[in-house]
Structures are given as structure tokens and as C-alpha cells.
Amino acid sequence: MTAALADPVPVLRERGQREVFCGLTGIVWLHRKIQDAFFLVVGSRTCAHLIQSAAGVMIFAEPRFATAIIEERDLAGLADMNEELDRVVDQLLARRPDIRLLFLVGSCPSEVIKLDLGRAAARLSLRHRPAVRILSYSGSGIETTFTQGEDACLAALVPELPREEGKSLLVVGSLAEVVEDQFRRIFADLEIGPVRFLPPRRAEDLPPVGPETSFLLAQPFLGETARTLEERGATRLEAPFPLGAEGTTGWLAAAAAAWRIEPDRFRDVISPCRERSRNALARYRAELAGKRVFFFPDSQLEVPLARFLSSELGMELVEVGTPYLHRRHLAEELALLPPGTLLSEGQHVERQLDRCRAARPDITVCGLGLANPLEAEGLTTKWSIELVFTPIHGYEQAADLAGLFARPLRRREALSGMPMAGGAAPCS
């Protein structure tokens, strides 16, 4: 399965304006995932406004995130910045006594002025232990793109994981709870275990890790987390990502191989799920086969998604953009892409838009800053953030995932009797 490494896929690398989120955005789902954690961004009003805008109306649900906004007087002298941070953390923990895990999240401003949040976290941990554990990571735009914020967060958790000597399986990456439960049941049926998940739902349930731990990445954007787990002696199981019926089978097979499960037994356990998933996908295949898809870079999910769309639904890949290409973690995925697929890493958004307009794909996967303008130009789009916020992993979600791509096409068809007058309608 290492063919892709030996024979590198050519990649178009571009630099220029990048139309992507920064890693702070990860907080939007991480704060719901770890239910007793709080995320305190140390940054500017821009950071506060970003999370507020990205979180949309969800912020109404008493969010467990906030921003310590750096002010002019903080910039005047670095010395009292630490005192200010301590004061803000005290204020916050007094308001939310239920919090057990506090992340100080670095931003572009805090990184540029070199505010040492690692030291601040250590100092504050001493002050608030044992009630609250305080960690830090960077979600700054200068260092992280969108989902890399989760990578940085989980990597910060790894040194905190308790040690264990026994054999266990660790599934790494935020998954919807319903998906976690499905995987738990399949692993139990295969008699693979114990199985744990990172991140856990509660800070006190940190999974243990040790030299006998094998881990499966559930998400493709976890380069740093994988590295830190390997430093603790754990072994990554090489696998495709569990998107689609075949991706999920390959992913489970990697664990089955590590646990030396008999092939017959593996087949017996997964066949019903795999068949159900394939049948559900067949309906979408009729609808999506032959449609041409263009991916703008966003989450690093683009390569496994493109593999799923091309191999299981018969779609054609015009361009697969990714903000960052982790060749080793994506080796199995890259091997499954059709030969000659145009992969692009990084971005020059204007040139990429030129390519997209010239190709006129049937569906364009892009962020919310581009989606409506492209729709107004007559291109059908699938806004990419939904792919991070929707349960898409595993057998039972494969058809839902296909549905996310089918819906915009169905809608355009449904509205085809009502063309937009003259294309774009100016809004103001």
C-alpha cells in the first residue's frame, strides 16, 4: 500500500491569497465534543468576531468559548499581560465552576508578540489544580488552517494521556457521537478492543496510551497528533479514511489485520453493514455518476472525499485542492485516485477561480465566501464547511455523504423553471 510514496503523485503548488478559515474555527465543534472543556482564545477583536461569525446562531447555546481581547495597554508592556491573563482566567473560572479543562488558544496577535501561552498554562495549572487542568495550543491563522486547529488541540492533549502497557485501539479525531457508537459496536462484534476515542466526551475520560497502543486516524488532518502519539510509543495503522462503504471497510480492515481477525469472521461481521451501505449508495450513483466536481482547499478532507466520489459514485475529478497534503497519512487514498487527477496544494484563489470558471464543473466544493458569488455566476456549489459539521463517517452515513453532493444539483434542477433574472441579483 505504499505505491503512492514510491511514485509521487504530481501536485500543483501555489502561493497567493488563501480563502480559508484559521484553526480557531475548530473550537466551534471541539467545545461541543468535549463537554466540560472551555476554549479561551487570547487574541484580538478579529478573533472574537471570527468565532462569533463562524458559530452563527449556535452561540446562543451558552457557548463554552470566549476571547480575552488584547488591548492597547496590554501591548504597551508585556509584563502585565500575564497578570491580565491570570485575572481573566480567574474571572472565567469563577463564572463557570463546572469547567474541568481549559484551553488557552493562541492566535495570530498572541503568536506575533510571542506571548508564551505554554508557560501561562503551566502557571495557571498550578494555581487552579486539581479542579481544572489548563493547556494551550495555537489556532492562529499564520500556523494553522481550519481543521488543523483540532490537530493542534489534540496534540496538546497527548502528553496528558495516562500511560498503559496493554494492547488497545485508539480512534483519533472528532466524530459525531452516533458514529462513535456505531464503530464501538462493530469493533465489539469483531472482538477488537479495548477501543477508546480521542478526544473523549469528558476531560476526565482521557484515553490511556502506551507502546502496545495501535491508533486509527478517523480524520486526515491529524499530522501533529499522530506524531506525538508515535512519540509515546503508539503505532499508526495505515488505512484509508472511513468515508464511503469501501473507505470504511479498508479502515476497519486495518484494525482487523492488527488484531489478526480471521478474514471469514471479518467478512461475516461487516458484510451486512457494507451491503446496506452499497445499496443506499446505488441510488445516488445513478444521479451523480459522470458529474464533474472541483474542490477548493478547505479542510484536508478533500482527497478522501474525492476518492469516495470517484470510486464509489463514478464522479469525475476536475481538481482536488487541499490546504496541506500529508503524503504519508494519505498514501492509501492517493493510490485509489484515478491516474492523472489534478491535485493542488496551497492556493492562489484568483488563479484557482480562473481554472474553475474555465472548467465549468457540475459541482464546486468551496467555502462560504465563494459559494454565493459562484452560484450567481451559474455554477452549482456545495459549501464545504458542512462536511465537517455533519456525521459523514462510517457505513450508515455513506449515503448521507453522497446526499450532501446530490442536494445542490437537485435544487438547481427543481428551480430550473425560475432562472435568475440576468444572472446575479445585486444585493444592495
Partner: protein
């Protein structure tokens, strides 16, 4: 550092984006780290713009910091000019770029482009969105308004409409409304800016006889400069509400030299408000918060046109704190000037009003406290950029306001029946206004006001008989009465003593 859960305003460079996006033929090159492009979706999603904002970001990353970020900026400016061919460029820095001090203005000038380049200094750690918008508009007007532009000759009096911008609360429809109103009274509109204006339009600002400032938060600075430089008087009355619109017409007539009794049209609000169905609105206690302009206008409408009582008035816009303090004094309340969402929440909980008129955030506060609410000011979400015509200004704006503010309240008969029959199995004291459906039933906290004196069980039971929308106030008044009278245990008697004491 300031602990912030919710921010009322974005950083100042978003204000600059609102000006650039509102205009035609202006491009903004913003020195900013990767990720700051999130601001695009404010325009493409919330305002549902069909085009990308005319903003090029440098989106530098950590690896660029070791290299030449200044060169990166120059390349971005050159490429943006080449690709978009704007009539004017604005250049500036976001909060992070402000720290690395690359001097966007100097770098852009060095490229010697054949169009005006306007550098912006927006201190991101001191100022906010509205200030950024005002400063950007002022800088553009200063750079582009042609001092040699002749005043128009002959014909009807002419004014410019200043202030409407992208991402403005109902700016689109306010402009339509006010332009039509001015036309009816015999005044032509020269330039509307920044919304829809090009640099060439800004060049001919001097043709007009006077300037109408619709949104002082955005256009006051520029209008004052035009007054000083071109001698153009300012019409400063903001026409939100029937009374304010009449005052606006009178002021325009005076400035334009038209007869004082010029006919301008009418609103349905006065009749709707006089009709007996509205009697029950009398004295409803309302808490008002928003930008200064909308908050002050709302307070006047609430008291003088709907017969409400203004229980609280505040703003997040410190630039206009003085005006809001004056208005609050006029209404006999203490102004709340803060951008701290938690302070606003505490004030609403303390006042227990019957209605909250505020921003998107006050909706959240009101939902938590189970109080009806309507939105009167930015910041707002996508539902407050409606497809239908819905101005706030002028006579039609007053119609929209009447409907919007009364809608969240329980209807009159429903309110009476609730007071008479509070144990009805489906129409009980906790039911939401029935026209809002079951989904609107507030997930209220039962007792937002902290207990300061003990309640006897029978008094507590009696309090439950007070309809929920006035129960908070009854509890507060009773507890205050008990405190003042030195009563330790509140009984049914105390409750009615307090009721008699406070009724007027």
C-alpha cells in the same frame, strides 16, 4: 485584556470592508494573516451579496514572517490592480499586520499606480467597526471629492445622502424610502454614498446644496469635513419614526429654502396607535439597546408614538455616548453605555421589561429571560436582511416598526383572558403568545430576580397568579417594598400592600 463572549462590533478593518463593498470601482488591499478572509462571508452569506467583496488579502503565514512580508504586500497590490483595474485603491492592515508594521500606505505609493491610493490607519486595538467605516469613508471623501467641482446650477435643490453602507441594518430600503420622500417634497438626490457610489461620484459631491446624514455612525466625520470645505450644511435629524420624519422634512425644507408646510406624506402608525386595539400597549415597559442612532430614535417612538414607558436605554457605540446620555436623561433613565454583553444582560434581568428592543444579542438575552423582543439595530443576522421592502426610515418605515414591535407581544384579549383564567389547561400563564406558536414558548429561568427577602408559601402561590409577563416586575416591586419597610417575610398582605404602594 477584556473577557468577551459576544462582541457588538467587529474590528475596524471590517468597517473599511463595509465601505469598499458598498462602493463600485474601489478595491481594498488588506494586509492580514491567513484566516481573516472569514469576513467575506459576512457579505456573501449574511447580506447575501452575489459578488465577492472587492478585497484582496495578503493572507501571510508564519513562514512568511521570517521573510519579506512587505514584498508580499506589494505583490498583492500590484496583482489586485492588474486584475481588477479599480478607479481607486484603499490599503491597510488588520490587527496582526498592525503589529508587524509594514506601512501599507508607503509600500503602495512606491508602486506608483495610475489611480488614487488611499492609505488607512485603523488602530485595531483601540477602535471598532463603526469607527473604521467612518474613518474610511472620510478618507475616501477627502481624497476623492473634487474641490473644483462647481455647485449645480438651476433646478430643484439637491442633496447628497451620506451613510448607507454594506452590512447596514435596512440601509437598502431606507435609501429608497428617503429618496422618494425627498423627491415628493421637491428635493433631488445628487450622490448616495458610500452605497452604490464610485470614486467618480465622490468627486462630484460638491455639486449638492447640502448633505443629509442618514447614519451618523458612518457619515458624520465626512459630512463635517464637507461642511467645512465646501460649505454644505448638514441635515442631522435621522428620520426614524413619524415625529422624527416630520422634523426631518421641516429641517430639509429650512435648509433647502422650501416652504415650511411642504406636504410629505403620512404613515399609518398614528392611526394604528390611536385605535382602541392599541390601548393595552400603554405604559408597557421597554428596554432599548443598539447603536446610538437607532436606540435614540426607538426611545422617542416608544414613548411618543406607541405610548410605552422607556425603562432603560443604552448603546454599545461609545463615540455617541453623549447623545445617548442626553436622550436617556430626557426619558428619566440612566444610560447604559457598554460593549459588555453580560452587563446588558444583567440590566435587562434587573429591569424585567415587558419588551426588549435591541440587537441580535438582546434576542439571546430576551430568550433566556422569557421576554418578548424585536430587533432595531445592527449587529443582526441573516433574517434581518429580508427579501421584502422593510425600511426603518420615513413613513413606510414607521409602518414597518409598528408591526415589528407589536408582533412579539401577547395580543390584547389574550392578555385579558390570561389574567382572568390563569388555570386554563392549554391557555395558561406560561403559554407564549399564541400567534407565535409553541416553538416560541420561552425556555425561561423561573426566577431571574434573586430573592432578597423570604417569601411565605401562600404569597409565592399568590404571585404565581400574576400573569407571567408582569410577574417579574411584581416580584421585584414587592421585594423592594419589603426591603424599604423592613419586612423579613413576604406574605399575601405584603404583596397587596406593595401593589397599592406602586400603582399609579
Amino acid at each position: 485584556m477584556q473577557l468577551t463572549l459576544w462582541t457588538y462590533e467587529a474590528p475596524p478593518h471590517v468597517g473599511a470592508m463595509r465601505i469598499a463593498t458598498a462602493m463600485e470601482g474601489v478595491h481594498y488591499v488588506l494586509h492580514a494573516p491567513q484566516g481573516d478572509t472569514y469576513a467575506d462571508l459576512l457579505f456573501t452569506m449574511i447580506e447575501r451579496q452575489a459578488k465577492r467583496p472587492p478585497v484582496t488579502y495578503t493572507t501571510f503565514q508564519a513562514r512568511d514572517l521570517g521573510g519579506d512580508t512587505a514584498e508580499l504586500f506589494k505583490t498583492a497590490v500590484a496583482e489586485a490592480y492588474e486584475r481588477f483595474r479599480p478607479q481607486a485603491l484603499i490599503v491597510g492592515a488588520s490587527c496582526t499586520a498592525e503589529l508587524i508594521q509594514d506601512d501599507p500606505g508607503g509600500l503602495a505609493r512606491a508602486l506608483d499606480l495610475p489611480v488614487p491610493v488611499v492609505p488607512l490607519e485603523l488602530p485595531a486595538y483601540q477602535k471598532k467597526e463603526n469607527w473604521g467605516a467612518a474613518e474610511t469613508f472620510y478618507r475616501l471623501v477627502r481624497a476623492l471629492a473634487d474641490p473644483a467641482c462647481p455647485r449645480h446650477a438651476g433646478g430643484r435643490p439637491r442633496c447628497n445622502l451620506l451613510g448607507p453602507a454594506a452590512l447596514g441594518f435596512r440601509h437598502r430600503d431606507d435609501v429608497t424610502e428617503i429618496a422618494a420622500l425627498l423627491d415628493r417634497i421637491g428635493v433631488d438626490v445628487g450622490v448616495v454614498a458610500p452605497l452604490g457610489a464610485s470614486p467618480a461620484d465622490l468627486a462630484r459631491l460638491g455639486e449638492a446644496d447640502f448633505n443629509v446624514v442618514l447614519y451618523p455612525e458612518i457619515a458624520s466625520t465626512a459630512a463635517r469635513w464637507l461642511q467645512k470645505t465646501f460649505g454644505q450644511p448638514i441635515v442631522a435629524t435621522v428620520p426614524i419614526g413619524v415625529g422624527a420624519t416630520r422634523d426631518f422634512v421641516a429641517e430639509v425644507a429650512r435648509v433647502a429654502g422650501l416652504p415650511a408646510d411642504v406636504a410629505a406624506g403620512a404613515s399609518r402608525l398614528p392611526w394604528y396607535s390611536h385605535s382602541v386595539d392599541s390601548t393595552y400597549l400603554t405604559g408597557k415597559r421597554v428596554f432599548i439597546f443598539g447603536d446610538a442612532t437607532h436606540a435614540i430614535a426607538a426611545a422617542r417612538i416608544a414613548r411618543d408614538e406607541l405610548g410605552f414607558t422607556v425603562a432603560g436605554l443604552g448603546t454599545y457605540g461609545r463615540e455617541f455616548a453623549r447623545e445617548v446620555r442626553e436622550a436617556a436623561a430626557h426619558h428619566g433613565v440612566e444610560a447604559l453605555v457598554t460593549d459588555d454583553y453580560l452587563e446588558v444582560e444583567a440590566r435587562v434581568a434587573e429591569l424585567q421589561p415587558d419588551l426588549v428592543l435591541g440587537t441580535q444579542m438582546e434576542r439571546h438575552v430576551a430568550k433566556r429571560l422569557g421576554i418578548p423582543c424585536a430587533v432595531i439595530s445592527a449587529p443582526v443576522h441573516v433574517q434581518d436582511f429580508p427579501a421584502r421592502h422593510s425600511p426603518q426610515m420615513g413613513f413606510e418605515g414607521a409602518n414597518v416598526i409598528f408591526d415589528t414591535w407589536v408582533h412579539p407581544l401577547m395580543m390584547g384579549l389574550e392578555e385579558h383572558l390570561l389574567t382572568m383564567f390563569r388555570e386554563d389547561f392549554e391557555f395558561h400563564g406560561e403559554a407564549a403568545p399564541s400567534h407565535l406558536g409553541t416553538a416560541a414558548t420561552p425556555d425561561r429561568k423561573p426566577d431571574p430576580a434573586p430573592h432578597s427577602a423570604g417569601w411565605a408559601p401562600d404569597a409565592e402561590r399568590e404571585l404565581r397568579k400574576v400573569p407571567f409577563f408582569v410577574r417579574g416586575k411584581a416580584r421585584r416591586n414587592t421585594e423592594r417594598f419589603a426591603r424599604e419597610q423592613g419586612i423579613a417575610l413576604i406574605t399575601v398582605e405584603t404583596l397587596y400592600h406593595a401593589k397599592a404602594h406602586f400603582s399609579s
